[in-house]
């Protein structure tokens, strides 16, 4: 019977995990977060400014995307858009999936801007676009920065799903190593540790940010 933990295997798999982490996991997380942040805001504003029936449609699509597993969405997109690279599909699906969450965060943020602020812009005859840009969005954003960070972390931990469309991210790299060497324990455990090491400090940073933003207001 082989022992539970083998340091040699751990040393052997670590570079592969880190490489995949840097090349795929981090790339997808960062680019997709940027997409989600921007697209989410666009959706949130669009929903509040288009006619009701259009808003209903946008809402429905958003709900559909938000309420179905990202794994299935990845597969669906992968087999539908055949000329697109898997990594691009991955980034796009993560970006779009999380943009529906971000749209909700922005909505909450926008709604948390006191009604008086809207009224003041009207009393000053400010235009709609200027109202959004100069008053509403800056205030809404402050409240949403922590949530954005939280979703980035949660996206980060969802990246293993990329393995279903053949993108070799960290966990896939670990499993491949495991398959070749029949040692999974070290690969999976180290992947977990890397997740923890990357996400915990980030979330600490976010809660500090959260507190600072809260006090400044």
């Amino acid at each position: 019977m082989n022992e539970l933990w083998d340091w040699d295997a751990a040393y052997a798999v670590l570079p592969e995990l880190l490489l995949a982490f840097l090349k795929v996991t981090l790339l997808v997380t960062v680019v997709s977060t940027a997409i989600a942040a921007v697209l989410g805001l666009v959706i949130a504003i669009l929903r509040m400014s288009v006619p009701k029936p259009v808003a209903v449609v946008i809402n429905f699509i958003g709900d559909f995307i938000r309420m179905t597993p990202i794994v299935v969405q990845l597969l669906f997109a992968y087999w539908t858009f055949l000329s697109v690279d898997a990594i691009v599909i991955g980034i796009a699906v993560f970006g779009i999936h999380y943009s529906t969450y971000m749209a909700e965060v922005y909505r909450a943020g926008i709604e948390s801007v006191p009604k008086g602020q809207w009224e003041a812009t009207k009393a000053l005859s400010m235009s709609k676009s200027r109202t959004w840009i100069a008053v509403i969005i800056p205030q809404a954003l402050r409240a949403t920065v922590p949530a954005l960070g939280n979703y980035a972390i949660s996206m980060f931990k969802d990246t293993p799903f990329l393995l279903t469309i053949g993108v070799v991210e960290m966990v896939r790299a670990g499993l491949t190593f495991g398959g070749n060497h029949f040692r999974y324990m070290e690969a999976i455990t180290l992947a977990g540790v890397i997740f923890l090491l990357a996400s915990y400090p980030t979330s600490l940073l976010i809660s500090r940010l959260e507190k600072r933003l809260a006090y400044n207001y």
């Binding site: 539970l4 809402n59 429905f60 958003g62 709900d63 559909f64 938000r66 309420m67 179905t68 597993p69 990202i70 794994v71 299935v72 969405q73 597969l75 669906f76 087999w79 539908t80 969450y101 909700e104 965060v105 909505r107 909450a108 943020g109 948390s112 409240a143 949403t144 922590p146 949530a147 960070g149 939280n150 979703y151 972390i153 949660s154 931990k157 293993p160 799903f161 966990v171 999974y184 324990m185 999976i188 455990t189 992947a191 977990g192 540790v193 997740f195 923890l196 996400s199 915990y200 979330s203 976010i206 809660s207």
Partner: protein, 243 residues
Amino acid sequence: MEANFAALAEAAPRIWEGLGITLLLTLGGALLAIVIAVVLGLGARLNNVFLRGICRAFIEFFRGTSLVVQLFFFFFVLPQLGVDLPAMVCGILGLGLNYGAYCAEVVRGSINSVPTGQWEATTALSLSKTQRMRRIIFPQAWALMIPSLTNYLIHMLKGTAIVSFITLADLTYHTEQLRQDTNTFFAYGVSLVIYFVLAYILTLMMNGLEVQAKHKLGRGDSLRETLSLKAPETTVAAEGGRG
């Protein structure tokens, strides 16, 4: 297309069974998660540094490592240490602990956002700490936390899609099998729709719960909300923790 539907009809009983597994995991996981969330959420507010530290470590650990890793340990490693749990128990345990840790932050955040006036009134009436929490604060925090809990319930439903890793034949597994007999597009389409309908129903139920809870606090009245597919509010303040 007809061949697709024929294959679907043929696979229906198995998909139905997979649906059962998915629901069992979701609801079992949710029950465990809420218990863990309340325990850890309250524990993370304790004055005792030691107990609080344990709760915090627990929360950070289960949030920080990913669900796949946790399932791997419960199903494949624990037996080597002599603890041999059935796959379903492993699944529920993994989901419950993972999402319980997330929800603990929701519970803590919601309790903290019950207005200070309510806490002070309980002191002015000399209620004990347990009475205060049980009778005054928690019932009010409950209404605040439901939207975020709904959010995580949907996450959990979606999270069950990976349990084939621990030999559970859930909805995703069976629709994945369906793919061998139908075109890929169709199989995943069916899967998406089923998940959406499930999530929709769960959301409606939770919205109903929220309306009821808010109504008890004398806020929010209409059934209209129950009927609308209200997006789970990500109340930035109440969430407090990390999504």
